[in-house]
């Protein structure tokens, strides 16, 4: 294998390039990214960066790194076609040949089809975050569409800076797709205590220059509207090339598509959850980087094992650091330990642990979840002390 091309120069794409060099790959690595400049990390965009405005701190690696590691970074370049027969990708007039192709195209913000949606701002890229930061320079009334992680992180920062903030969430609770009802409730209380208005169970039906309207008739006056209503994976390239797409680029337990010459990773990939086998798509630094490492090991012949990393995630909202180890499904049962740690169960099996400002329990959970399944009855017998099971 001589030429590896990676489409998407974000967290996962860059990690794939770095891991390939670490694992001893000596051929050419070409990392093509649509965004300008050097690859950067997104998590601080809704956290530290909104406060500090320090864009330099976001950079994942300096320019010299790419020379040193001989990774050809082609930034500001959108790939518009994959030719699987010729094994090439095209970006405008430029053509890149590959022996292996890695799709790391990530996601983009979802724009619900409501009038005025184009008036709302996004928070996905550094450019988006810079625009928001500029806007927060003077007192603002902010309306946030969507009570997920990104919307709530933004709300917490804006509120702490003294702005008026309203969050409108269509679902009956916050972060509903990712956390237990108990954690939703805890964060609802925290945001309300901070003075943020949170409106639940009422979808936004219109964005206006002077605010938003909800289906139930409520009108919220706002100078700034943030659209944080979820994302959609960038799968068009894969679909046009005839690869299977179902809420993401479909890959097997080795992060390989049906074409043995094409892998996919990170936010854009749907892969079998190691614990349950069900197809999942995760939006996390952990998934993007662990996928990348697995693909690199496979391509360099260092390891053949299927993907089995334990998912983990964090979200910083005001003084609360939410940490999630594992992956729970929507209906999983919930047990709250006396100290507030939340254990989720799929049947008898521990599926996830949600904690707030409790790194110890979080790390213990990650360790335990990496081994044999942890059973509910064993945890109950141990008084939910993970060190004892």
């Amino acid at each position: 294998m001589q030429d590896i091309v990676i489409i998407g120069a974000g967290q996962g794409g860059l990690q794939a390039g770095m891991s390939l060099r670490q694992d001893g790959f000596e051929g050419n690595i070409t990392l093509i990214g649509a965004e300008p400049g050097l690859p950067y990390q997104r998590p601080p965009l809704s956290k530290a960066y909104l406060k500090s405005g320090d864009a330099g701190a976001l950079q994942l690696r300096p320019e010299s790194f790419f020379e040193k590691k001989q990774i050809t970074l082609v930034s500001g370049t959108l790939v518009d076609r994959i030719d699987r027969d010729a094994r090439t990708v095209q970006a405008g007039q430029r053509v890149f040949s590959y022996d292996h192709l890695i799709l790391a195209t990530g996601t983009r913000n979802l724009r619900p089809p409501i009038p005025g949606a184009e008036l709302a701002l996004d928070l996905r890229t550094l450019e988006d975050a810079a625009r928001l930061r500029d806007a927060l320079d003077r007192p603002m009334r902010c309306a946030v569409i969507g009570g997920g992680f990104i919307g709530l992180e933004f709300a917490a920062v804006a509120r702490a800076l003294g702005h008026e903030v309203t969050v409108a969430e269509a679902a009956p609770r916050l972060m509903a797709r990712a956390v237990s009802p108990e954690t939703s409730e805890r964060f609802l209380r925290m945001h309300r205590d901070m003075g943020t208005e949170v409106l639940l169970g009422d979808p936004v039906c219109e964005v206006r220059a002077d605010g938003i309207s909800l289906a139930g008739g409520t009108r919220i006056a706002a100078d700034l509207v943030l659209m944080a209503a979820g994302v959609t994976p960038n799968t068009e390239l894969a679909a046009a090339a005839g690869l299977a797409v179902d809420n993401g680029v479909v890959v097997d337990a080795h992060m390989l598509t049906a074409d043995p010459g094409i892998s996919a990773l990170g936010d854009c990939a749907v892969f079998p959850d190691p614990a349950t086998g069900r197809p999942v798509r995760l939006e996390s630094v952990q998934a993007a980087t662990d996928h990348a490492r697995l693909i690199s090991k496979r391509l360099t012949g260092k390891a053949e094992a299927p993907y089995d990393a334990v998912p983990w995630f964090w979200s910083d909202q005001a003084d609360s650091k939410l940490q999630i180890a594992g992956l729970a499904a929507a209906g999983d049962a919930t047990v709250t330990r006396a100290d507030g740690a939340i254990f989720r169960f799929a049947g008898d099996r521990l599926s996830a642990v949600e904690t707030v400002n409790d790194a110890r329990t979080h790390m213990l959970s990650r360790k335990r979840l990496a081994g044999a399944p942890v059973l509910r009855r064993d945890l109950e017998a141990a008084g939910f002390d993970l060190a004892e099971v």
Binding site: R61, P62, M363
Partner: protein, 107 residues
């Protein structure tokens, strides 16, 4: 500027000039120092920025931060009394000349 020396597991020394206010993890990445990964960007979520503070400097760098012990428990390499998460060591003028040793493995 604050001078920091990174000593790799094989003994290779790299001297870099850091911005005060930055941290030991970010400074390593900014200067292409191999041996520190810093996957979570300093959010204390990954322990891939593990380092050993040189014994002459453990006093100046001070005690571990809240939560650091628990993260270090998951570090890939041996944890010693001098182990720190390098993202949690903030560089001030008082740390000019700091020497840190890097483990063989980070992930």
């Amino acid at each position: 500027m604050v001078k920091v020396t990174y000593v790799a597991a094989d003994g290779t020394r790299t001297d870099v000039d850091a911005e005060p206010g930055s941290n030991v993890m970010q400074t390593a990445l900014d200067n292409d120092v191999d041996g520190i990964v810093g996957e979570c960007g300093g959010a204390m979520m990954c322990a891939t920025c593990h380092c050993y503070v040189d014994e002459d400097w453990t006093g100046a760098t001070g005690a571990r931060n809240d939560g650091e012990d628990d993260m270090l428990d998951c570090a890939a390499d041996e944890v010693k009394p001098s182990s720190r998460l390098s993202c949690q060591i903030k560089l001030t003028e008082a740390l000019d000349g700091l020497v840190v040793h890097l483990p063989e493995e980070q992930a």
